[in-house]
């Protein structure tokens, strides 16, 4: 019923939030009402410099500068620093090797995307970003990263880091991410991870962990130490059983679609709250095992077992 109360409160407050879900506008040199644009897309324009009128977009909150490899970012950031509402910057697919030192002039930056920049000097970039004290979300997917450098721990306000589609197999990565107290969302899907290191247990601050589409067969016992973990995505891995290691955690949601699970372990018979969402689609549960699942997980908010092979 909390959901419904929330709906009513949200209905009352939504009118106050006029920038919510603004349309993304593709840059148009003839634009007259710059002040009305909240989100601007300049991607794939083969730019060398930002348009001169960029500083007139005084209410700009989001700018996409992706796929402009020839863009002079140092000059661009000098122009962008005057846009005091700018909080989201996308620099994907720009062939970056380094970030300009003046990126910290965009002082209110909260969300930075640097995906598809595999030649980026990550250690240096993370050191530079540590001066952005409002940075809460960082996208580093598709960058051929094997290990996250120690400098990541300088991003003290970071809440969300997307490391999808890399090759991260280093246990040090987890230890280093564990030093960011505010980190809540960690994306490590599509990383060809075969075994999760015990250092994952150091991530005691993480709330949602995305480990889909790797090659995991089991979890280390140390995952029990992840006290705040609520959501665990393990879809598209190679589990043959539901992992017993999660029984002592405080998980609410466990997603295990597309594994090779054939049986529901008896240890799950007395599964305790708060686990209330379990997704088992596309596994190998026969009718009997599905019946057992229905019996064990009666009262769950969601139990999904579609398309068993």
């Amino acid at each position: 019923m909390n959901k419904l109360l929330f709906i009513l409160l949200s209905v009352i407050t939504v009118s106050c939030n006029h920038t919510y879900f603004s349309d993304t506008v593709i840059y148009d040199a003839s634009q007259q009402k710059h002040e009305k644009v909240i989100r601007l897309d300049l991607s794939g324009e083969n730019l060398q410099q930002l348009p001169e009128d960029i500083e007139q977009y005084i209410n700009l909150r989001f700018i996409n500068l992706s796929n402009n490899p020839k863009l002079d970012l140092t000059a661009a950031f000098e122009q962008l620093k005057n846009l005091t509402n700018l909080t989201v910057l996308k620099l994907d697919s720009n062939g970056l090797e380094e970030l300009p030192s003046n990126i910290n002039h965009i002082v209110l930056l909260q969300n930075l995307s640097l995906s598809y920049n595999p030649t980026l000097n990550l250690d240096k970039a993370l050191k530079q970003l540590s001066s952005l004290t409002y940075l809460t979300a960082l996208n580093l997917s598709h960058n051929n990263i094997v290990e996250i450098p120690e400098s990541v721990s300088g991003l003290v306000q970071l809440k969300n880091i997307r490391l999808s589609d890399n090759n991260i197999n280093s246990s040090l990565t987890y230890s280093r991410l564990a030093k960011i107290d505010e980190l809540k969302f960690l994306w490590l899907d599509h990383n060809n991870i075969k075994e999760l290191p015990v250092s994952v247990g150091e991530l005691t601050q993480i709330r949602e962990l995305y480990l889909g589409n790797n090659s995991l067969k089991n979890l280390p016992k140390e995952i029990e130490n992840c006290d705040k973990l609520c959501v665990l995505y393990l879809g598209g891995n190679e589990f043959k059983d539901l992992p017993n290691e999660i029984l002592e955690t405080k998980l609410r949601m466990l997603v295990m679609y597309g594994n090779q699970i054939t049986t529901i372990p008896k240890s799950y018979k007395k599964i305790k709250p708060p686990l209330s969402i379990l997704v088992l689609d596309n596994n190998y549960l026969n009718f009997e095992q599905q019946k057992i699942a229905t019996k064990y997980f009666t009262g769950f908010f969601l139990l999904s077992m579609k398309n068993q092979k």
Partner: protein
């Protein structure tokens, strides 16, 4: 020994039942529903009863069966049928016998009020459950809902607050969650003037498609800044979303048994996303649904013209 217990129990019930008084009513209803998202005929059977214990504790409850051939439902043009069963019951303080609470449920707008009854004060709280069944391509959106009702009434006036949400708990196991008509809420006021009944209210109605939990969530719609996971939905109707925010006007007359419930409002993707994102982001129901947030609001309307046949069988 067993016999003594049974006899004792029967005597207690008999003595207890002397303190009860009550009334029951019901009707067969026919509705014509014409709106921006619904074009249907509804055939219904409703039974509603009240009982008062020792003049100040009352109970009321009803059951509504609906069978509804439709040519449009949830905004989709497709001829088929749907049905629902609604049960509701309230307990509270007061002498409750004017039957004004008969429209406290969500699937029926007709009230079987008794304008001759002098005392109808009631302050009550109760539960409602609705089982929805749909045939054809929209079958997957049949679900089960549960919620609560608050009703405060005097002899001629009644205020009802009604909220339901889709549920997956006993006795509603195997129900889909966050799918189909997921959440509804209505605040309404009803007043009797002679043999006529007037009402108005505000309501909210949310509809989401069926999430495909067998696919990895990804960005796209409703992922404003590329930082959240967004569910992929099952086809067909993977992009079928509604958030209707509306106001309602009701008129009934005992003269001709023709009743009217008109609703107008807005169907807003942005509002739907805003509301549901807050829930999903804050209550651990990650990921989000793929509300098409850049699409514009649409006009929402529903006209319900209905008549009922009633034998006044308890009067």
């Amino acid at each position: 020994m067993k016999k003594i217990i049974v006899i004792g129990l029967l005597l207690s019930i008999k003595s207890f039942s002397r303190d009860f008084s009550g009334t029951i009513n019901g009707a067969v209803t026919i509705n014509i529903l014409l709106g921006t998202q619904l074009k249907a005929v509804n055939l219904g059977l409703s039974i509603f009863g009240t009982t008062t214990y020792k003049s100040n504790t009352s109970f009321e409850g009803g059951i509504n069966f609906n069978f509804s051939p439709f040519i449009q439902k949830y905004g989709i043009y497709q001829g088929n049928t749907s049905g629902s069963l609604e049960l509701f019951g309230l307990a509270g303080y007061g002498q409750n016998n004017n039957l004004l609470g008969s429209n406290a449920g969500l699937t029926k707008h007709t009230a079987f009020y008794d304008y001759k009854v002098k005392n109808g004060k009631f302050y009550g709280i109760g539960m409602v459950v609705i089982l929805n069944k749909i045939f054809g391509d929209l079958k997957k959106f049949g679900n089960k809902q549960g919620g609560f009702i608050l009703r405060f009434s005097t002899r001629q006036n009644s205020v009802v607050f009604n909220m339901v949400n889709d549920v997956n708990a006993r006795p509603f196991t195997k129900s889909g969650t966050d799918m189909g008509s997921t959440a509804r809420a209505m605040l309404s006021y009803t007043t009797i003037k002679g043999i006529e009944l007037y009402g108005f209210g505000f309501g909210l109605d949310m509809f989401t498609p069926e999430a495909d939990y067998g696919q990895a969530p990804r960005g796209g719609n409703n992922d404003e800044d590329g930082t959240v996971a967004v569910l992929i939905n099952t086809k067909p109707y993977d992009d079928l979303f509604h958030l209707n925010l509306f106001t309602s006007v009701v008129y009934q007359s005992m003269n001709n048994n023709i009743n009217f419930d008109g609703r107008i409002g807005v169907d807003s993707y942005k509002l739907g996303a805003f509301v549901q994102n807050r829930i999903h982001d804050n209550f651990g129901l990650y990921p989000r649904f793929s509300w098409p947030v850049t699409k514009k609001n649409r006009f929402y309307s529903l006209l319900d013209l209905n008549t009922f046949y009633n034998q006044d069988f308890n009067e």
